[in-house]
Structures are given as structure tokens and as C-alpha cells.
Chain length 274, copies 2
């Protein structure tokens, strides 16, 4: 039996397309529905109440599209509002990017000293630290907010010496702390993977949450007998604001073809749903 219902994926903006990229690699037969809340991104600096409200709105919208699973590609939402998504999603499985990152880090670290980099909201919530310690309380986790990395990636400075200097500023502390594993706790950071490896000098294992999330999504759907055997139709992309840079940014993160994008007014959509 082929379960042709789509997988719903959402993020505060377009960074979550790095997770779409990995889902496409791991699950080429699955049809994806992506929503980027470009009108209200970035969530990183918003209050927790605002992030919870936004997450419930988006989940309600995705449920209306008859998705069989929801992947929360946003670290901030996974950190502070995953429970809200689970509540609204009811019986279908929900997978945030934080859990797979925690499990992979724990599996990888030998010395049980793990570093995590992310946005301020993710770090402030202590999401990875709490998640990892819940699995093994002997692990020491050092979480570090790196808020400049997102704009540097988005502005095309990934290859510039400014970014390398910034990475040194941010990562030196983690190296001094003696971590043997570093979790990339933000959708944008896989695009700095090469530079991060260079600054770390090969001494530290780097965990890409997006890659591990796609792997776990495949496992969950397989266990439930809900995999699609063959692809039916194209992926669908929704955005809450069609910014002028949409196409440029999408191509950075997706590293692949984006079929047409539909702009939606979430408030109107939800009013119609009610």
C-alpha cells in the first residue's frame, strides 16, 4: 500500500528548505507541502507567546491539507512550541529538528562533551541541552547563540573572510571547552559546514540536524506503513509574504528546483477553515 498523503514541513522562513533538501534526498517518493512564514520571520527574537500562536496557526493550516506527518524544520519552534504543534496535529506524527540532532550527538560523542550552536531563542530555551541531558544526564552540553550567522549566510557572505572571523569569535569558546561533537542547531548552518570544519580544524565531529531529521522521518513513516511507494504530483510551497528576495534565498537553501510558490494570508485561510 502506498500512502500518497503529503508530508507537511514548516519554518519561520526559508531556512527550513535545507530540511526539504534532505527530505527529498532521503524520501524521493514523498510529496512535500512547505510553509515558510516569511511575513513574520525571523522568529528567533520574538516572545515565546508569539511563537506558540504562530505555530498553532500554521499547524492548523497544514492539517487542512491532509498531511500524514508534520516536520517542524524550525529550531526555534521545535525548541519552544513543539507541544503546541503536537496538540493541534492530533493523531499524526510530529517531528522537530531538535530531537534527531540530540540523539545523533549523543550517539557520536565519545567524551560526552557536546557543543550546540543556534539562534538566541533556541539557546535561551536550552532545547538541545535539555534534550540531550534527558537521554543521558552525564553529558555536559555547552550551548552558544550565534545570531550573526543567519544574516551572513543570507547576504551571501558565507565564503567571505568576515564570516570566518565571526566563526572564530563564536567557536573559540566551544573549542576551549573541549567539546568533541558540535550540533548545528539552526537550519542555515549546514551552508557553513565547510567553514565550520575549517575553523574547528578537524578535531570535532559536526552533526547536521536536518540530515538526521530526514533519516528519522523515513524511519517513522516506515514503521507506520505510511511510506509512499511512488511520487504522485509535485511538492507545494506556500509563503506568507512573497518578498523580493524569495527566489534568491530559496535557491540557496533548497539546492534544487522549487515549483511554483503560492502566497497565502494565514488569517484569511484560518477564518475559512473555522
Amino acid at each position: 500500500m502506498s500512502d500518497t498523503r503529503p508530508i507537511g514541513v514548516f519554518d519561520s522562513g526559508l531556512g527550513g528548505l535545507t530540511v526539504v533538501h534532505e527530505l527529498r534526498e532521503a524520501l524521493p517518493n514523498e510529496r512535500l507541502i512547505y510553509l515558510g512564514d516569511t511575513l513574520r520571520c525571523p522568529y528567533g527574537g520574538r516572545s515565546i507567546d508569539a511563537i506558540r500562536t504562530f505555530s498553532r496557526e500554521i499547524t492548523t493550516f497544514l492539517m487542512k491539507q491532509n498531511v500524514k506527518m508534520i516536520v517542524v524544520a524550525c529550531n526555534t519552534v521545535s525548541a519552544v512550541a513543539l507541544q503546541d504543534v503536537i496538540e493541534v496535529a492530533g493523531n499524526i506524527p510530529v517531528l522537530g529538528v531538535v530531537g534527531p540532532g540530540c540523539r545523533a550527538a549523543l550517539h557520536t560523542s565519545v567524551d560526552k562533551r557536546i557543543g550546540v550552536i543556534g539562534t538566541k531563542a533556541t539557546v535561551r530555551a536550552g532545547a538541545y541541552g535539555n534534550g540531550i541531558r534527558a537521554l543521558d544526564e552525564r553529558v555536559t552540553v555547552y550551548e552558544k547563540a550565534c545570531p550573526l550567522l543567519v544574516p551572513l549566510v543570507e547576504e551571501g557572505f558565507a565564503e567571505n573572510k568576515v564570516t570566518e572571523l565571526m566563526l572564530e569569535e563564536y567557536l573559540d569558546e566551544l573549542v576551549d571547552f573541549g567539546v568533541d561533537t558540535l550540533v548545528l542547531g539552526c537550519t542555515h548552518y549546514p551552508l557553513l559546514s565547510k567553514q565550520i570544519h575549517r575553523v574547528l580544524g578537524g578535531r570535532i565531529e559536526v552533526i547536521d540536524s536536518a540530515w538526521w531529521t530526514a533519516r528519522e522521518a523515513k524511519q517513522i513513516l516506515g514503521d507506520r506503513g505510511e511510506l509512499a511507494v511512488e511520487r504522485e504530483g509535485n511538492d507545494r510551497f506556500y509563503a506568507t509574504d512573497m518578498t523580493e528576495e524569495f527566489t534568491r534565498l530559496a535557491s540557496i537553501f533548497l539546492r534544487g528546483q522549487m515549483d511554483s510558490v503560492v502566497e497565502i494570508d494565514l488569517h484569511n485561510e484560518l477564518t475559512e477553515i473555522q
Copy 2:
């Protein structure tokens, strides 16, 4: 006669508090009402339609507070939605930060070669270029988007070598272009004034739009006989989202005391108004 009605000031976020700082210096008797749209900032990457809608909503809210003048502290709004503010404001004067910056630059430049730095939205709209050329079409204006400067200031890297390297990346082109005057076309940039002077090496005059805006606001109210002779009550601050970093950021920009802040839901406020 003392006109004790307040002056309304708004910005997409907290950067506009640099304008409040200058207004307080120039007009110590005036009571100010500030609204920072922290729930939806930054506007720089949003579509023009979204920015126009937001500006109309905020102006409607300020009008309800019986303001005698509206100062648009946001360069992006001044660039793309000033006409919307003027329409909603009706008979009271509206002053954006772009106009005063243009007039001051034209007055200062000897060679008639002017550089402007700002957010992408401000530069994309060509606001300063169009404004300056409307005053004198012989002037050559070189506008340059510097999107990393806002996060660098907000993250406390103003004094760091990363910011100096970034400023060199951004400003070298303008120096090569031979400008003799540089307009700081973003609320945040006055906080980099010292570093900008250092990178420019004293060869170029720097125009702070916020300072000139406060000067023009005083002139306009004086001409209309609407100045307050003495202060009645404290300034009032509204924000659409009380983010965790509100206090830290406000103190960077305001360089002075912020009385209590009230969080408002703009949609509810406007529904009540209707």
C-alpha cells in the same frame, strides 16, 4: 500658547529610538508617543504591500492618540510608504527621516557626489537618490545596501574588528566612487558613527538623518505655532511584542530613560477604533 498634544513617532522596531533621542535633545518640552512594531520587524525584507499596510495601521493608532505631528523614524517606511502615512494623517504634518537627510546632504556636498548607506528596502526604493535628484538633478548619488550592519549593532559587535572589516567591505566602493558626503540612511548607523569616520579616514562628511529630522521637526512646529512651552507628562512607549531583549536594545538606541512600555495588539486596537 502651549500646544501640549504629543508628537507620534514610529519605527518597525527599536532603532527609531535614535530619532527619539535626537527629538528629546532638540525639543525637550515635547511629549513623545513611540510605537515600535517589534512583532513584525524588520521591515527591510518585507514586500512593499506589507510595509504599506503596516504603516497605515500604525498611523491609524497614533491618530487615535491625538498627536499633533507624526515623525516616521523608519527609513524603510519613509522610502516606500510615506504617502500612506500622509493620507491617513489627514491635516497634521508628517515628517519622514529621508527628506531631512536629503536636504542636509545636498547642503553639505561640494563636489555634488553623495553616498548613501541603508537597508536593502531603502536602497532598492532609491529613496535618497530620488529625493536628492528631485532637489538638484546635477548631483550624482551612489546608494549602497549594508544589511549586516543592523545585526552587528544589535548584537553588540559595534566595537569589534568584525564590524570594522564589514564596514571596509561596504564602504570601499563609495570611497572609490569619490563621494564627499555620506548619508547614514538607517536608524542604527549613528551608533557606528565613530567606526565609519575611522574607515573613511576623515575625507568624507557624514550626515546623520536622525539629527536633521529632529531639527526640521522643531522648525515645522515652530512655523505652525504648535510648540509645547513646557512638558506635560512623560513620553509613552508602545511595542507590538515585548521581546526578551527589549530593554537591552532600547537602551542601546535611546541612550536615555525609557518610562514604562505597553505591549499592544494592533489588530485589536484598530478593531476597537473602527
